[in-house]
Symmetry: C2
Subunit: 243 residues, 2 copies
Amino acid sequence: MLQPLLDKLMLRSSLEAADQAAVIALPHLVRLLPARDYIVREDETPGYCCLLLSGYAYQHKIAGNGGRQIFSIHMRGDVVDLQNSLLHRADHNVEALTAVEVALIPVQAIRDIADAYPKVGQALWHDTLVDAAILREWAINTGRRDARTRIAHLLCEFALRLSFCGLGTLSYYELPMTQDQMADMLSLTKVHINRMLRLLTNMGLIEKNRKFIKILDLRNLAIIGDFDHNYLHMKDFEYSKRG
Amino acid sequence: MLQPLLDKLMLRSSLEAADQAAVIALPHLVRLLPARDYIVREDETPGYCCLLLSGYAYQHKIAGNGGRQIFSIHMRGDVVDLQNSLLHRADHNVEALTAVEVALIPVQAIRDIADAYPKVGQALWHDTLVDAAILREWAINTGRRDARTRIAHLLCEFALRLSFCGLGTLSYYELPMTQDQMADMLSLTKVHINRMLRLLTNMGLIEKNRKFIKILDLRNLAIIGDFDHNYLHMKDFEYSKRG
DNA sequence: CGACGATTTGAAATCAGTCAAGAGCAGTGG
DNA sequence: CCACTGCTCTTGACTGATTTCAAATCGTCG
């Protein structure tokens, strides 16, 4: 059941047989949740970390003025809220973007495996560092890039991340969020998202329907989007190998 | 020499005597750097992590259009670039904000201590989780709050963080950055920072000169700034106890 | 078919950016 | 001790990218 987690960790860290066995043996409960269900709410003290087995989830927070900011999108193999293992109180919400299948792993089990198998602890730590690197890139994206650039950048990021974990290709993948949700990732309004997607379409860079996106010209989309995949820290990834 | 690091870790994690001794015994080189010196550059493969013994440093990245985004400010006891220990290539710059005294700790030594003393590894991991929590708050700050709110929020954050580690009080502290640097933290322009600081001053909330700031009314500044200190995860911190 | 949510489009408003110039301040060297 | 230099701060007038508001259309699902 926990194979997706092990696959994810092995993409970036090398673990020995005993480490791998310990990961697979982690105690957990499997749950199915519909889209829009909250997995963790701000100010809760969650007793588990949430591993995504299928579907998509995202982290977000609501500002005092009602504005919502989405911080991250997670996919198969991601532990959406690894921070619960060491921090007691949730400082943001985690919500199911699509219907999801999750494995709930008790936080104490995470701490125990990190004690007993330091390499596993480091692999998990490594994962949180990559999440932080992506978050930094999102910060510069919303902070210092204009709307068109931001969207192009996000579409490039998804192309690489999804193809990296086998959920699509560099030129075609599922984009399971609404324009309203994209707006809250990029700190824009849904109206402006709509206009900019149209613009990219008219430029011949993408084609999009309600659920899927076709990248017609990734190279130029990356240029438009000021995109350099270094921050994703994808070991051995090569652009050209995947279609 | 490494006492500031141990102090920092002990603020949030509990370590036994052996763990503490191992931290203090970490190999390191001490260096003095003037303000504006780069500590790490994007795309380098740094061989060390940088512990701040005194002074301030910040992480930043330059977008393709020339815009700069600052992601974080670090102070005494912070390991500015703990991610170097596990990720090979730097995805951002680290620069001295003021003159700094740093201890350079080889990345291999960080990995070794995390192997041999899992609790120390977890304490370091914990630290990166708090850094990520702060970064999320900065993301919502720049993404979904207006200029006045953003600045007020930042000033509240500094008041708490600096007083927490003994570098000032809740009502008076050193603010060692220029308005230009503040602009790059908050994704605004220096002109607008200037106007909004004046506004907060005129509202009777703060008083500021070139290097220091006096918070006249933290409670209202926090309201104006949509500020809730939960995300700082400061164990046992109480507002009222510190002046 | 009806209903609801998501997308699309247009027009007007606004917050923050841009450009430009002057004032203040600190360090340097004569 | 003062003049010079460079950087930061300050202010005003104008501009513009994005938001806001509003309404129509599209799609999907019961």
